[in-house]
Amino acid sequence: MSGTSVNIWDLPVRICHWSFVILIPALWWTAEEGEMGWHMRLGIVLLGLAVFRVLWGFAGSSTARFASFVRGPATVLAYLRSMNSPRDPIVGHNPLGGWSVLALLGAMLLQTGLGLFSGDPYDGATGPLNHLVGVMTADSLTEWHESFFNVLLALVGIHLLAVLFYLAVKRDNLVHPMVTGRRAMPGEAGGMQPVPAWRFLLCLLAAALFALWLWIGAPPL
């Protein structure tokens, strides 16, 4: 594609994205192998990153913000109907992809949230908030934690199929920009609007403190 190369994804968005790609298989593997110490450490990291991504969705650069990519059903339908007609690439998430971001982020938050309460103190590891619920509640949450992984996996599968569809059918490589942050845009189209670094540091600090607070069992503040 001719045109100028512009920034479309900032570094925090890309780091979050590729961390999720590494952490989800790692969390599945550690659970499967019964490496619960590592499972919990990686899980709290994933939770912290997902919380950061939510904060960044309000304070981050233009393409990271929920307000810039969460669209109503009419816009999503119109986007789907116009799938076959040629159009300029979008700077940021397309109307359907925006919902994919929300679904994946929500599923990761729910899954890690369930994990916080999982386990049985008399039988191996317990999540850091296990002591806050009764033994039978923890038992149910543990079962949901195990089965909800399949929902997360299905959402990841749909996401990958969509990326493959754009690559094979639409001849649009979405992976490369998610690595480099840049893509070629026709004409004089502008890229994303970045925000100052202090916003990143503030969101990171808030997410890290929240994750740490959960990790130590959510003591009263």
Partner: protein, 160 residues
């Protein structure tokens, strides 16, 4: 690069999907050994479920002592079978999918004692539940939990 990343991602997704089923047995474990491991895990699973139900009753405020006695009986019965489920060659060194440490066979008296502790603790709980004395039941439950933990500490792989 343009083609590789999505291919790797989809391969990853497929391998994740393929791995969703039950963990496969290690190749060098015979089916007889695998079967005894499965039986003993079911036996412990039933003990764990019964103990969970008992603790659930105690959190309830108005515990059903008959239900507690029944679950304690289950634990007592299953505790009596534990030692039969640990023939030589079914430990973690066999490559099987188990957390049974070699100390079970290196210290057979210690392991037998730990199993006896659970048998005694579950009997204490059966008796306490019969008296319907909440304080005695709570104490017996703590004792039973302690015998679970003590045995896990010495004879079960800890990966936390």
């Amino acid at each position: 690069m343009k083609l590789h990343s999505p291919l790797i991602l989809s391969a990853l997704a497929l391998s994740l999907a393929a791995c969703g089923g039950a963990p496969e047995e290690a190749a060098d474990v015979s089916s007889a050994e695998a079967s005894v491991i499965e039986q003993r895990q079911d036996n412990f699973e039933a003990i764990g479920d019964a103990f969970k139900a008992i603790r659930g009753q105690l959190e309830d405020g108005a515990p059903d002592f008959a239900a507690i006695a029944g679950d304690a009986e289950t634990i007592h019965t299953n505790a009596g079978k534990i030692q039969d489920y640990f023939p030589e060659g079914t430990g973690i060194d066999s490559g099987a999918d188990t957390e049974a440490l070699a100390t079970i066979w290196e210290d057979p008296e210690g392991f037998a004692g730990a199993a006896e502790d659970l048998i005694a603790a579950s009997q204490t709980l059966v008796d306490a539940a019969g008296t319907e004395d909440l304080a005695a039941v709570q104490q017996a439950v703590d004792g039973l939990g302690g015998s679970c933990k003590a045995c896990h500490d010495d004879f079960r792989l800890d990966k936390d």
